[in-house]
Subunit: 354 residues, 2 copies
DNA sequence: CTGTTAGCGCATTCAT
DNA sequence: ATGAATGCGCTAACAG
């Protein structure tokens, strides 16, 4: 059956076997309704008998459609982008598209190179993360006229299509919530802000929200570390060596918050009594930490689906919104409450929602 | 500079611009040493000036090399495979290869379809997870004569190359460890075993290890659930409604173990005093849970690197081991100790960590 | 509804 | 060291 010396089975072979032309086989594959049922049946049988698998390179070369979409993300390691990738891949697969995945480790030059590589590979569209990229990247995208979309950000003033949320507002809301609870010594543990507009925006959002309330955010209260649990721990340790430790801490990710909670247990710092903690992402584990983590829930799955939708619509020349703002939610759970000073002094009753 | 009405820049354009033939440009790209330095410089300049990006489809069609490797994994959601994918992608990128990623949700038919799709896309090699696949998959692989490798498993008796570890032995070691501590009522919370030889093997390994010690594993002590934290919680709840709850529980993944620990806190079950817990994977968070999770550390990163190495070596016709067994470690941390019965009866002094 | 024809862009002979 | 010519496998005009 399987001839070990045979070369690859081609459309030609199928055509010969089914006694028709290659064009007909091609049609049977791509627009079956244009082929007589009888012929189609013969072709299908031949395809099966020969074990024919189309050659995507030839198809892509001829039709200029590779059926591949590329994604360039910072990293898969932090699991932050896993949900995005998962939903993106699924949505694309529904329309017969495959996902070419590359990472750049927060290096804009690598991001540019990887994008160029994706274009070389013939991807029809590109999904990016963030709004700020190397200038060359935008040139490249413009030159190739391939649909692309930035995710994890929403900026209607941008020249580039995006699907995501306003990182400033989201983080600001969390900051205001802590302020409303009565916290005045609020610290921030942020992920790397260099080449990462999402983290930078969140930090900026916090800063401006606190300033609006007349609060300063001293540099001693801002710690920047990669998104690793141990870094959250380390950051908390540093904060608690301060002469005046914070009563609340806003984290740039749930991963960092995880580390904070972990270290609090280690140091005997009681959460939320002594310290309130807020995460960002609402990853799966957030609700299962003890106490359950108060955090900012982001639409990771939706971003993946909508990014895929956007690219697919563009590819099919259907209208598509260039700017999609998705909802973010402050999810109040067990790691936040009014600061000890307040409750002790009984200055004010502060309701804690569920 | 960028002509908006221009079609894609091709090799032809570069050749014209650099005043040479397309063959020479092609050589300058693929075997620069064969081209005179002077001409090469001219070509490089032209490439830059025109913003030329090679057409991968044409290149792949002509040379039969797509520079793409495919991976078919169960899912990205559980983050279990994130480290594998991350290291795989990085290693491939080092050699100029891109990664086409697809998922199959533990559905063998989908796995077959996805693999076929990858072949259509022209991947040069394929990385799979597990040793048991649909029969059609192996036929397909054989027919296309593309290098492929199973990961997460080690089975030298298999007909298929693999890079991984012996799931039976790894899980058996954990079971023996619990038995050695004195546990006799040991429960298992396993991930889905259907179409998942890794989980099935781990369960089998546990069962036989216990049988060797004269211990039975009743069905009431085995709970099978997808790898979600909440499922770990639910499973523990069920186990503790048993007339005789276990004194130790072996989990098929750290994620399930996470849920167990979480629920223990909820129910006031003291770990490890009342219950010992062992995970599987040693994910990042394992050491940061409180108590720190005793677990089986698997070589996720190495598997990715070695899988890439294997495929790359095969593609370059270099010798490569078809069977690679990587080390697994039982990492004893804070969630395991002898059962309460033993310590209560004062048979033995048991230290309680932290 | 089907066949004929002509390339898509590139890498690779074979010459020179 | 370089150029001319060929075809990888397929789809899309165009006829019929």
């Amino acid at each position: 059956m399987t001839d070990p010396a045979s070369r690859r089975v081609t459309l030609r072979d199928v055509a010969d076997h089914a006694n028709c032309s290659t064009a007909t086989v091609s049609r049977a594959l791509n627009s079956p309704e244009q082929v007589a049922v009888e012929v189609r049946a013969r072709i299908d049988a031949s395809i099966k008998a020969l074990g024919y698998v189309p050659n995507g390179a030839a198809r892509a070369l001829r039709s200029q459609r590779s059926q591949i979409v590329g994604a360039v993300i910072p990293t898969i390691k932090y699991s932050i982008y896993a949900r995005l990738i998962e939903s993106l891949e699924r949505r694309l697969a529904m329309d017969g598209y495959s996902l070419l995945l590359t990472t750049h480790d927060y290096d804009p030059v690598k991001e540019l190179e990887q994008t160029q590589l994706l274009l070389t590979r013939g991807v029809e569209g590109i999904v990016l993360v963030g709004d700020s990229h190397d200038g060359g990247l935008h040139q490249l995208l413009a030159k190739h006229r391939r649909p692309y979309v930035n995710t994890y950000v929403f900026n209607p003033a941008s020249k580039h299509p995006c699907i995501g949320f306003d990182n400033r507002l989201a983080a600001a809301r969390a900051a205001r919530y802590l302020h409303d609870l009565g916290h005045r010594r609020i610290a921030v543990i942020t992920g790397p802000t260099k080449n990462n507009d999402r983290q930078a925006d969140r930090l900026a959002g916090i800063r401006s929200a606190l300033e609006e309330r007349g609060l300063d955010l001293p540099s001693s209260m801002v710690i920047e570390r990669p998104h690793l649990i141990e870094n959250g721990r380390e950051a908390l340790e540093i904060l608690f060596q301060l002469p005046e430790p914070p009563t609340a801490v806003l984290c740039g990710s749930d991963v960092l918050a995880f580390g904070v909670l972990s270290e609090c247990q280690e140091l005997g710092v009681s959460v939320p009594n002594q310290l309130s903690v807020v995460g960002f992402d609402d990853q799966d584990f957030a609700k299962h930490l003890r106490p359950a983590l108060t955090t900012v829930g982001i639409p990771a799955v939706e971003m993946g689906i909508e990014a895929a939708n956007y690219i697919l619509r563009k590819l099919n020349r259907q209208p598509a919104n260039n700017f999609t703002n998705l909802d973010v939610q402050l999810i109040v759970r067990g790691t936040t409450m009014p600061p000890a000073a307040l409750s002790t002094q009984g200055k004010r009753a502060v309701p804690v929602s569920a």
